[in-house]
């Protein structure tokens, strides 16, 4: 017997990253000043550290620092507690911050998680929820008073209309077929450049990963390439067979493609149909035997 539990599939991972990253910035319209920006933090994504005692590799999603302290943020959509991982982050040697252009501080970092839902307990750590409206929990575990004040001040902020980030594909997306398609939309459109030689599956993935491209493990890259190939196969077979082909290891525009506005509109509509608009789709969270 197979039992299924469901959660809505939207662009979960991208929304999580987007809404967390944008807390480090400000925008005039609508008036938005992220709490990390207000507290003066600068950040680095996916830096590599070693634990102080064991020399174990530690790769938090975001590390940030400012005059008043430093911060480690773990971004996750996993339904399991991140407490053990967060415990390990506390052993990161703060002197290594300088390697990433961040200011060095004595003492332990403030460690926290960023999630899209608040139904998981990550232990004795502050948790922020960045789905639609910013929510703060367990801020009493933060050492940095300035950070605590700014987060409390920012609670309730509307996060639904924050700008996209340039990263279109992220490693944790490997199981999300619709989300990967949306991440590929404009990368596929580039294939129709009359001067383009097409793109290999590896190029598609690297373009989507953008600045994360040189930070992911080969096994994760292979998984993503496989998912991208599946998504592209579906696009070729069922949506753009007239205008797109896979030849000599590259996705290319067919000779039928012309940069005519009717053709371009047709392709845009088909890509939109293929990628779908982000809405609540029933998708398995995990399978039980």
């Amino acid at each position: 017997m197979t039992g299924w539990r469901y959660l809505p599939e939207r662009d979960d991972r991208i929304v999580l990253w987007r809404n967390t990253i944008q807390l480090f910035y400000q925008y005039n319209r609508p008036n938005f000043v992220g709490p990390f920006k207000a507290a003066g933090f600068r950040y680095n994504i996916e830096p590599l550290f070693l634990s102080y005692e064991q020399g174990e590799n530690l790769e938090p999603d975001i590390v940030a620092s400012c005059e008043t302290g430093w911060l480690i943020l773990e971004l996750t959509t996993q339904p399991k507690s991140k407490e053990p991982k967060l415990d390990r982050y506390r052993s990161i040697d703060s002197r290594d911050l300088s390697q990433y252009g961040l200011s060095v501080h004595d003492g332990e970092p403030d460690v926290m998680t960023s999630r899209l839902s608040d139904n998981v307990d990550d232990g004795p750590y502050c948790q922020i929820t960045v789905d639609n409206i910013l929510k703060i929990e367990k801020e009493e575990y933060l050492h940095n008073q300035r950070l605590k004040d700014e987060l409390i001040e920012a609670e309730g902020m509307d996060l639904r209309r924050l700008p996209e980030i340039p990263i279109a594909i992220i490693p944790e997306m490997a199981g999300k077929w619709k989300e990967i398609r949306r991440g590929l939309v404009e990368i596929v459109m580039q294939i129709f450049d009359p001067n383009s030689d097409g793109k290999t599956p590896v190029q598609l993935v690297d373009d989507g990963l953008e600045r994360l491209s040189d930070k992911i493990r080969p096994a994760v890259r292979s998984q993503l390439i496989s998912k991208v190939n599946n998504a592209m196969e579906d696009l070729l077979q069922n949506h753009l067979s007239l205008y797109l082909e896979f030849k000599d290891g590259r996705y290319r525009a067919t000779e039928k493609f012309k940069t005519h506005h009717k053709t371009m509109e047709f392709i845009a509509l088909r890509l939109r149909e293929w990628a779908g608009t982000p809405k609540t789709v029933q998708t398995p969270l995990f399978k039980s035997e």
């Binding site: 925008y27 700008p163 009717k262």
Partner: protein, 345 residues
Amino acid sequence: MREITTLGDLKGRLQAGFENNEESLEVFGKTYSTQLKAYMIESNQSVVGAGCPIGKWRGLDSTGWYGNRDEKLPNTLFLDSTRERVWIIYSILDAAESDLAIKNWIESRKGLDRCWLSRKQLLHWDGMEHWSQSGLGLRFSDGLYPEEDAGKFSLKAWYGANRYIVGLDEVIEKAKERFAIYSARWQKRRNGSVAISAEWYSNGKATINRAVDVDEVLLSISEMTNRYDDAISAATELRDTTLCAFEIDFSQEIDLDAFSNTVAKGTGEMKLWLVQTEAESDFRRFRGVDLHTWDRVLLDVGPDFAYLTIPGKGCVNAAPRIATIQGEDNAGRTSIFHDGVEIFA
């Protein structure tokens, strides 16, 4: 007829044009002078890769400077490619011929674009000693609507005429706050007479109507070009080192449905080909390409603002281009910000 083979020759030819000195002009095979025009070109190309709008480039004696060689129209275009990203083409052709040649050249070469001057750049000399503004042009095409429904606005004013109509000043000031500036006319006066009279356009073109000293003219064009070159470098660094979007604020609310229809076809002045990936009544998300360079762009648009994200090594000139064209087309006065700070200013 004397060939122009050195930078000194070029300056001599331009100086003769400013003086309308027939004798000097005759040396270069001309009996009359056209106004000097300068086009600022944003380039991601080498000089060889970009080619020449008319004929071929031939190097002058000074590094980075070229003149055109052509059977019919030689010695009419001159290229200053000494800056990495922003070039200047000087033209002594008449305006119609010159504008068309530059337009066709930019449109046919990937990686070339105009420089799109912001309001603050067009008003750069405001308040500077010796400089005064002598006119301006405003434009609003309402381009997202069909011709018959469009509420267009266009104004070109020379300061001075306002003394004949009471209240004209006020109208111009109000229009200036609401609509995009597409040209600004500036005068530099020295010892009571005009040293430079120039008109600058939002598409990076300048026309020198009157001048006294060629070096002074080239320096004033260089000054604007350096400013733009610096702005492009700064924006490129922001693109590479942050994940923050460029924010473009408008003074007019735009019709999001009309915008969405235009960009899906890759038509319109902005040359964006976008797929709408999220839609609410007052907010849309788009992903697509900038057809000038075929670089990727992500655009999130609200009624009076847009967030532009440029992944990878995409050209940041898209930000001022979208701001300028969108402003003149349908969004009115525009400004570009990054993390709350105005850029391209």
